[in-house]
């Protein structure tokens, strides 16, 4: 669906990644968990990013808003960590043209993720959107 293309995000992060890699140690906190990501696309769009870290391997899901207000599409992500930075990518299923999402970022000193989301599709070029993401305190 074309709507999925115009979706929100785009990635391309270039942040100067300075964190550490690994999982769950004192120096390298695990990224595993749910993150409330604020994508800056004209205004800040709240997006759910769920990550699972296993060593240098990172995977997860991002729930991307579609053009239809209030609807999202889940995109599976795969990637990893290196040199204190992470990179993830996934393909939007069901999109009319192949649409790829890339997420790059790092954990900053305040415990938030920051970086860029890039979305690219055939003929549309690509769109970059900076983001910050705060860890969600999940409650029932």
């Amino acid at each position: 669906m074309t709507t999925l293309k115009t979706i929100v995000v785009m990635v391309a992060l270039t942040a100067g990644l300075s964190a550490q890699h690994g999982k769950g140690t004192a120096e390298t906190p695990s990224l595993t968990g749910t993150w409330n990501m604020g994508l800056e696309g004209g205004h800040v769009i709240p997006v759910a990013l769920v990550l699972k870290q296993d060593g240098d391997v990172l995977g997860g899901t991002i729930s991307m808003p579609t053009q239809k207000i209030g609807q999202t599409v889940d995109v599976a992500l795969k990637g990893g960590l290196a040199n204190g930075a992470f990179a993830l990518s996934g393909t939007v299923e069901g999109a009319k043209d192949p649409t790829t999402i890339e997420i790059k970022g790092k954990l900053n000193d305040e415990g938030m993720l920051e970086g860029t989301v890039t979305m690219s599709g055939r003929g549309d070029g690509h769109h970059d959107m900076p983001y910050t993401a705060e860890r969600l305190k999940e409650r029932k």
Binding site: T34, N36, M37, G38, E40, G42, H43, V44, I45, P46, V47, A48, V50, S63, P65, I69, G70, Q71, T72, L136, E138, R139, K140
Partner: protein, 454 residues
């Protein structure tokens, strides 16, 4: 056809053996809970620095000039501003709830409860503040409480992110699973208040009367005239003024209906004929109806929803023509934040109209304003971030001695707005209430001392 009209407070209603001092003591407390969506410009980082919502000074020497509250200056002695509070229950609690801030927030402001994510009939939030009060103090009036709104809030089904539209549309909840519908059409409010729908008239009779452009008061003047002959001079004058106000409001509604049925292009083509296209005209009409209802003690409790999340309405009277939702997404840019502040300022500027009416309405030993407590707030803070921190909130009126007014209190970071609401409920006559929503203690609303329970 039969019809009834409520009467204002008259001295003749007081038993002869009671001294006039007892009249003052008997004046009931009224409560008006107003919600506006989309937070405020003053909740953004730049807005805080520029005091676009909360004044810089706390205590009694606050300056409203730079704030969106500046129109309330004539009522500063009746004003209690509590800034820097949060509405955490409006935040997402799970991954699936992220992004649903617009869809769920309105249900949170006066319940301070986290809504269950559902698009079905199994909605769940909490009992709202207005209903807690109405269930205790609204049972002696003809109508325990009323729920009014300005925008279209009668959508069915889901409103996005897996939330039922009732979360977006209802601010008043009689029970955690019972949202109360809001009335948008002033004609319906008028008829509810003055009994036309409840006194045995059929819809066809009502339509006939409307078609003939006849006034409800035309049905009542004869009996009112008989009543006036039995009253003292002060009561006669008060009753005459009151009936004139009722007639005036009905006349305004009739004018709006005639205009909207004339075939002229409407700005709000889908709105009922009784709804003015002008935002301020609509709000003022609703305020006049509330003032009459409070004066005549038909009801003591109103919930009033001024906006709707993600509304694309514009307010040219504000001096800025951008649409509400788009303007609220200011990207953190100062020029856009200042534009958003114009909309906030305009919305608040309609409140003094109501306060002035209340102030000029005698009630017991004072005015209706003395015996009314009006709350105004939003469940969102910085709308650009869709967060729920530093939400805009103020209280006007003294609620029959519940509040002194004339003060700005800045709460410590992280204070739940629910703490303030809990304190208000206690002051209004529910002292046994220990919790409200996510409150973690009471908040000393006179001095700002934070009495958290933890």
């Amino acid at each position: 056809m039969s019809a009834t009209v409520a009467l204002p407070f008259l001295e003749a209603m007081v038993p002869a053996r009671r001294a006039s001092g007892a009249v003052a003591a008997a004046a009931p407390r009224r409560l008006v809970c107003i919600e506006m969506v989309h937070g405020s410009a003053g909740s953004s980082a730049i807005g805080v620095k520029k005091n676009l919502w909360a004044p810089a000074a706390t205590g009694r020497d606050f300056d409203l000039t730079p704030t969106s509250l500046r129109s309330l200056e004539p009522f500063r002695d009746h004003l209690t501003i509590v800034s820097n509070t949060d509405v955490d229950p409006a935040n997402p609690f799970t991954a699936k709830e992220i992004g649903g801030d617009h869809a769920r927030s309105s249900a949170v402001l006066y319940t301070q409860a986290h809504p269950k994510q559902t698009q079905g009939g199994d909605v769940q939030a909490g009992v709202s503040l207005d209903q807690l009060y109405a269930q205790r103090f609204g049972q002696d009036t003809a109508i325990p409480s009323m729920q009014l709104c300005i925008e279209n809030v009668d959508q069915n089904g889901g409103c996005g992110y897996g939330y039922s539209c009732v979360y977006t549309d209802a601010i008043s909840w009689a029970a955690p699973d019972r949202p109360l519908p809001m009335i948008r059409d002033p004609r319906i409010v008028f008829d509810e208040l003055f009994g036309v729908l409840k006194t045995g008239t059929t819809r066809s009779e009502r339509s006939e009367r409307l078609a003939e452009d006849r006034s409800i008061l035309d049905w009542l003047l004869a009996s009112a005239g008989r009543l006036q002959k039995t009253l003292g001079p002060a009561d006669r004058s008060r009753l005459a003024d009151y009936l004139e106000h009722v007639r005036e409001i009905e006349r305004r509604i009739q004018i709006v209906e005639a205009r909207n049925r004339s075939g002229e292009l409407r700005e709000l083509p889908a709105a009922p004929a009784g709804v003015p296209d002008s935002f301020s005209e609509h709000v003022k009409l609703m305020f006049d109806l509330q003032a009459l209802a409070l004066a005549s003690d038909v009801t003591r409790v109103f919930a009033f929803k001024l906006g709707r999340d993600a509304s694309s309405r514009s307010y040219p009277e504000s001096g800025f023509t951008g649409t509400f939702h788009e303007t609220s997404h200011h990207s953190g840019r100062e020029d856009k934040i200042l534009n958003f502040a114009k909309l906030n300022t305009f919305h608040v500027s309609l409140i003094p109209y109501f306060l002035e009416t209340l102030k000029n309405t005698p009630d017991g030993d004072g005015s209706l304003l003395d015996h009314t407590l009006l709350m105004y707030g939003s469940p969102m803070g910085d709308s650009n971030l869709h967060n729920h921190k530093r939400v805009p909130f103020f209280i006007a009126g003294r609620g029959g001695g519940a509040l002194k007014g004339g003060v700005h209190l800045k709460a410590p970071n992280g204070t739940p707005l629910a703490n303030v609401m809990l304190t208000v409920l206690q002051a209004l006559g529910l002292p046994e209430l220990e919790r409200f929503g996510d409150s973690d203690g009471a908040y000393n609303i006179e001095h700002g001392q934070h009495a958290r329970g933890d």
